[in-house]
C-alpha cells in the first residue's frame, strides 16, 4: 500500500458498542475478496490467522447473514469468499469513507492551517 498523505481521515462506524467497522476490517474484507483466503488476507496485513478469523467472526455475528464464508480442507486447503452481504457491507464502507472525505476536505485543510496565520 502507498504511504499515506497527511492530514488524513480515519472513519470508524460503531455498529454496536462491541462491533466496529473501520479501515482494518474493510481492508481485511477486501483482502479476502482478492486472495480467496482469510489467512492470506490477514498475512498481508501482518495479522495472525487467529486475529483475522476473530475479526471476521465479529462482523459475521452482527449481520443477519455472514459477510464471509469459508470452506475447510480439500485438496486446495479450503478458501474463503465474501457473500453478497459482505460485498455490500464493504462497498458501503468505501462509499462512507469517500463521502465523508469529500464533505470535510476544506475543514481538514483549515485545521492543518490553524495557528499558522491562515485561520483562527
Amino acid at each position: 500500500m502507498p504511504d499515506p498523505t497527511y492530514p488524513n481521515l480515519l472513519i470508524r462506524i460503531n455498529l454496536t458498542a462491541d462491533v466496529l467497522l473501520g479501515p482494518g476490517k474493510a481492508d481485511l474484507l477486501q483482502g479476502i475478496a482478492e486472495t480467496g483466503s482469510i489467512s492470506a488476507a490477514g498475512r498481508r496485513m501482518g495479522m495472525s490467522y487467529k486475529r483475522a478469523w476473530y475479526l471476521v467472526d465479529t462482523m459475521n455475528g452482527y449481520f443477519p447473514e455472514p459477510l464471509v464464508v469459508s470452506s475447510k480442507g480439500g485438496r486446495t486447503g479450503g478458501g474463503a469468499s465474501l457473500t453478497a452481504t459482505g460485498r455490500a457491507a464493504l462497498d458501503c464502507y468505501r462509499r462512507i469513507q469517500k463521502k465523508a472525505e469529500a464533505a470535510i476536505q476544506a475543514e481538514i485543510a483549515h485545521l492543518a492551517g490553524v495557528g499558522k496565520g491562515v485561520s483562527k
Copy 2:
C-alpha cells in the same frame, strides 16, 4: 455524557503519523475549556493527569502555537485554558464531525440494513 446511540461514527484526523485528533482529544480540550484545569478535564474522562497532560502536549507540539496554556501554583493551584488556536482547533473538529455525519447518514442507515433484505 448520555449513552451513545448506534450505529454511530468515530472520526479521527491523523495530522501526522504521530499526532491524531479524535473524539478523546476533542472532549479533553472541551473539558479544559469548561473546567479551567487539565487534571479536572482528565478526571471527568477517567484519565490520569499524566495521560491528559501527555495528550495536550502532543497536540501543542503539532500546531505553531500551543492549544492549551497552563499556569502552575499560586493560591488557586494554577489552571489551564484554551488559546485562540486551541478554540479554533476544537471548533474545527466539531464541524468536521457534524459535516461528516450529515454526509453519510443515509449510508450508515444502509449499512445497518445490509443483509436484512433492505438492501444488498
